[in-house]
Symmetry: C2
Subunit: 351 residues, 2 copies
């Protein structure tokens, strides 16, 4: 199989971890006789520094011609500390999601048994938890109109959803549930928000086409609680862009660490694969970032964009074996056991 | 001391738990020689059934003449299942918060040592955690313009904040931090939202007036993760209405159960005290609801609205003693220990 993959390292630890993800893709190509052609693009703070814009046209053009994208992270403390800067790294990420029509962000949350001890949640609560999030990615308050008024003293954003946007992500969630434990939890805040009432009504309609799947509607506050209280009660979760952002970061604790979580963003054309963690400038360049989220993102890429299931499984097995042998990066180390081998990013990347 | 307290039982378990909260207030009045005059008001689903509106004028008039309010919960599955109903119980709650100017919702999260085992989070992560949330309560997407357009196929809500709204809640948070561990974490999503960028800039300004307090700004997704990963790293948290709703429900897991968490809503006039849990129709009338959140709300009422610290402490001590003696409602029982005495709502209410 011959494929074009664009690597977008982005900012902070994005560079270190995508280097590992890429290496894994190269090894897979070699072992299984595929030809993956790699190219690089700029995005985020790095792109702003080089070109003045967080998503240069050149990058976008490359992405549109790729068969898949492996992305790192964007962000920089400079912008976080100064909320008045008009050009920001995150705009590049949001524009990319929108321009490529990546409306469905899949975030699988599954704990490797070896990491039971790494989580702050009790092992008996976690064991067996296996959640697949579908976060809507090109709508909601991320893309509604925003601005200032009243002499700059009032700021607003618009949370907004249309029927077709909810329908397409709901169908994806129900279809996935059919191949799993046949339960969909739709999360909204329909007791307050009009956009959530539309969301809930549309999901109720779509559900009728999947009589074999149980559907449950939950308010976002209750879901935030239940995820920690009883993660095993969830199978597929479908929710909007903002609630999905919050809940999946929270759910990273179910998987032991944010450093373990991969995600796939898909829509109608090319797929994008990225860790759910951010650019983490506090640990950048120290060689301690966990590359497994990027490596597992590469596995999702092989599986979802190229249909290479055996190859994807090989990557996941390698990660499992590495963990079983006791290798850890610092974020997933259990302070109470001495036999673990704490590795840096690069060595961990050699799985 | 002579005071007028209005009880608003509301819906579902609201009735059962406020009955216990009221009983505690009566006992305190008797022991300490105060005169508390109680009155009742209707709100929520109950009020809709009786009067057609979720917050009748009569209730509102009573509340405005009270010295404090003890509230239960509102909500009913009927509305949750049918997102098209135009009159809803929650509108009563939101209108009450707005009309009474209750812009600051204080939610203290503290684990009673006896409940260490009841949480799904590991005891060593929890022990010593003590967080005070300031949730803004009369702004944000809860009160912005909302509606439908595009032939009913698009729905929107407006997230909106003005400088003065952020200033007044920020001042409350910083002042509280001065009496605690001197740290404020402000939670927003300033990397995406304009209202969050205003929020962050205002908090940065207010912070300058409290040089003895450390301020930290955190994105809501990161905060949702960190709360579980390392709850002890938080002291005072200040955030908007929607993020506060989600994060405090999540944080209930730090306190062992939602059934333990009390809240105070204050502003410029009368204070309102309520559990953070909802109406929980699934357990209504079974006598198994945990009344401690309402009882602890009564303690907050004594402390904050009446300045009766000794009386408030007496209530908290009684709750502690009850837990120490091994009494539990089902939600806070530890399945692994046999010596616990599982009680119903009413008996637990006799603390
Ligand atoms: C960087 C930020 C804009 C982004 C988001 O909020 O979507 C990130 O948190 C994510 O989850 O991918
Ligand atoms: C019932 C609902 C409208 C309410 C809210 O979202 O504020 C509740 O969840 C709360 O936290 O008091």
């Amino acid at each position: 199989m011959k494929k074009k993959i664009t690597i977008l390292p982005g900012d902070g630890i994005g560079k270190e971890v995508t280097a590992c993800g890429k290496k894994v893709l190269e090894q897979i190509a070699e072992c299984f006789g595929h030809e993956f052609v790699f190219d690089y693009g700029q995005i985020g703070h790095e792109a702003i520094e080089a070109t003045g814009t967080p998503l240069p046209d050149e990058t976008l053009a490359k992405l549109k011609k790729s068969d898949a994208i492996l992305f790192g992270a964007v962000g920089h403390p400079k912008y976080d500390n100064d909320p008045t800067l008009p050009v920001r790294p995150e705009q590049g990420l949001l524009k990319m999601r929108k321009e490529l029509g990546l409306y469905a962000n899949l975030r699988p949350i599954k704990l490797f048994d070896e990491l039971l001890a790494a989580s702050s949640i009790k092992p008996e609560i976690l064991k067996g938890a296996d959640i697949l999030f579908f976060r809507e990615l090109t709508g909601d308050v991320y893309f509604g109109e925003r601005g200032r008024k009243n002499d700059n003293k009032t700021a607003y954003d618009t949370m907004i959803y249309s029927t077709y946007e909810v329908e397409r992500i709901a169908h994806k969630a129900f279809k996935a549930a059919q191949t799993r434990r046949k339960k969909v939890t739709s999360v909204d805040k329909a007791n307050v928000l009009e956009s959530s009432r539309l969301w809930r009504a549309v999901v109720q309609e779509v559900a009728k086409q999947y009589p074999d799947v149980t559907v449950e509607h939950m308010f976002v506050d209750a879901a935030a609680m239940k995820l920690i209280q009883n993660p095993k009660s969830f199978d597929v979760v479908v929710t909007g862009n903002l609630f999905g952002d919050i809940l999946t970061d929270e759910a990273s604790q179910i998987a032991g660490s944010m450093g373990m979580l991969a995600s796939a963003s898909v829509g109608d054309t090319v797929g994008l694969y990225e860790p759910i963690h951010g650019s983490a400038h506090d640990i950048t360049g120290k060689g301690i970032a966990n590359p497994l989220a990027s490596i597992l993102s590469a596995a999702l890429l092989l599986d979802i964009s190229f249909g290479l299931q055996e190859e994807a499984d090989t990557v996941i097995k390698a990660v499992e074996r590495t963990l079983k042998e006791g290798y850890r990066t610092r974020d997933i180390a259990d302070p109470s056991t001495a036999h673990e081998k704490i590795l840096g990013t690069e060595v961990m990347g050699n799985v």
